[in-house]
Symmetry: C2
């Protein structure tokens, strides 16, 4: 973990750029982290890389930073999305955090036939993605979409993006990892109860979908997400 | 998740075998899960596979099951260990849970130079390993050892077991995954602050150690554990 404070800000960053702080940010930097005028911290906005910034004004409910110098250039992770069926709150939070750490560009909660949770708080999940990026030193933050029904997501799918679909019913002996295609990708993780037979048949018939098998043991959804993203990064992504 | 109740019992299992229940088990089965005499459940002990059992006596503070028939034979996962530096409580629990799901046989908490937590509750971690096995349908439960200092673990290491050591300082371009050796394995995950320079130098010099690289982004320890175990299972384990 970096010892320096690291903060995501939705504001343009450039040399000498002033950045106003809202009440939450001021509370965190000056109340919780005890920074004062002249203190240095790292900031990023997901578009302009990482910057060293200096505290110019430190108030109780507001403040201002000035960007001093770029410390890391902007770098986007590979073109990878995660689609997952929301589960219990804590594990849904974990999946979003893991997707951010593993370098997903976009996170799509999808409702499947066996998904129990009908609602998600997308703003809460976005906050988790931001926090993971702050903690892990990333310069990008994945987009978190609102919940959509899986059939709708598939109906508007760009077929040039390969969908890796984790199929726990695949026979032993099936390849754990497909060959490299170089195409943009997405990983789809089903809910705790798995996919319905109809969903599985539909997924298997999609020309852009590839079944993968995550070993012979049943994995919880958050574990399966990290494992599948690892396999994708190893074959198609930037872990090669 | 299996809809049937699934319980780990530290008792021999065979056809017609009676199994006494302690107060905690009786409370869970009869109080929480509302099972009564004649109800069926799945039980396993980590040695005799999975059995269907029937409730013979259901009391408030005790009870008895009878094993009816074996439903799955005993099967051990590949010979894989996880060594990790304990971190905050909730994430340590998660690492143990993930190691159990991913098919580790043995979990060794190790104290490194930058490990903050000096104590772990091994009994608590064992309970998490059991719960993960119950939830995920496994018939084995990994052993969880007491905390040991890393140098002591390495001093008594059997050199025929390969140690995969996650080295975040490895240069880009290093192979993410080594070639298959067929040897028993272990994955070592460092603490949040990484390994010290002295530890890293020592690890690199070990003839049984192989450095692996988990991509260009910093991963939290629990994420790194699942990712490294995935890579091992794909190369050396039963995900091939």
């Amino acid at each position: 973990m970096p010892s320096k404070v690291r903060l995501f800000l939705d504001h343009p960053l450039a040399e000498g750029q002033g950045v106003p702080l809202d009440a939450d940010q001021a509370h965190y930097l000056f109340g919780v982290m005890r920074l004062g005028p002249g203190a240095r911290l790292s900031v990023f906005n997901g578009r302009d890389g990482e910057w060293e910034a200096e505290v110019a004004d430190a108030g109780k409910r507001a403040g201002r930073l000035v960007a001093v110098a770029q410390t890391r250039p902007m770098a986007m992770p590979p073109d990878l999305w995660l689609l997952f069926a929301p589960i219990k709150k804590a594990r849904t939070d974990f999946i979003v955090e893991k997707a951010a750490e593993m370098g997903c560009r976009r996170i799509l909660p999808v409702q499947t036939e066996f998904t129990n949770s009908e609602r998600i708080r997308a703003d809460r999940l976005r906050a988790h993605a931001v926090e993971a990026a702050e903690q892990c030193g990333n310069v990008f933050v994945p987009e978190v979409e609102d919940l959509m029904r899986l059939p709708e997501v598939l109906a508007s799918w760009d077929p040039s993006r390969t969908l890796w679909f984790c199929d726990e019913t695949l026979a032993t002996g099936a390849a754990a990892t497909p060959d490299r295609t170089g195409a943009p990708g997405a990983v789809l993780i089903g809910p705790e109860g798995g996919f319905s037979d109809a969903e599985r048949a539909r997924l298997r018939a999609l020309p852009f979908a590839r079944s993968i098998r995550l070993g012979p043991r049943i994995l919880r959804a958050d574990t399966a997400a990290v494992a599948a993203l690892t396999l994708w990064q190893g074959v198609e992504g930037d872990w090669r």
